[in-house]
Symmetry: C2
Subunit: 157 residues, 2 copies
Amino acid sequence: MTGFRSHMDAALAEARAAGARGEVPVGAVVVSPEGRVVAAAGNRTREMADPTAHAEILALRAACAALGSERLPGHDLYVTLEPCPMCAAAIGFARIARLYYGAADPKSGGVAQGARVFAHPQCHHAPEVYDGIGARESERLLREFFAGRRGGGAAPS
Amino acid sequence: MTGFRSHMDAALAEARAAGARGEVPVGAVVVSPEGRVVAAAGNRTREMADPTAHAEILALRAACAALGSERLPGHDLYVTLEPCPMCAAAIGFARIARLYYGAADPKSGGVAQGARVFAHPQCHHAPEVYDGIGARESERLLREFFAGRRGGGAAPS
């Protein structure tokens, strides 16, 4: 299986693993121009005590470290949830070519709502954006995670 | 010398050091509720090949690591340049109480222009914002740095 569905499946697997660690279940992968996954990460803000350790930031940093470059031209980023303004701006700085995301995030998103980071002249590179891919599974993971939290139950595994 | 001028002076020293390393000269410090500098950093995007290695992000991550917490309530952040949307959102996630910044950044800023990250309901914590502190020296450092680049000269030291 190749193409954008399998890359989003890889991001969803990272989201599930994050949820199993007690983190908000969001996952991301960076894919090279040749279609190879060069970095994959899930949210680790709690474990790392780092408010910047969102899945997208960790995946971008890992991809840049692997390539020895602060820019990733021609690379795509897949993430299970609409990026927040922090991650959207980082995606622009990294010169990501295409952003594929799953669920919309009316509460904290910064791409299609709120700050709309890519919509201002202060943003010097905007990726092509494709939303809604794998959204149902992403929303299910998030819903179960927060329901488990509210109920005081264990984090979903 | 105490208070916000000395903290901005510390941030300006970080900016100068960044410029001497060939990085865009921006510096930041995080100050505890007791007025102690708990982290200081300059921009290192080039050296670290990391598009997220802005001064603010590095200072926030270092402060969070020192405190073992992803939130820094009651802490202030001083930065020599208006934060971009990435850094502004990270400042919100870290629950910074007061943001003091120097020069405005019409080209890439995300606080007073463009994305205006703190102005949307998707931002769950906005610091008090004080701008223009040490702006003249910050602008001078940036102007000299970019003039040196255009002229092909050495980075300002």
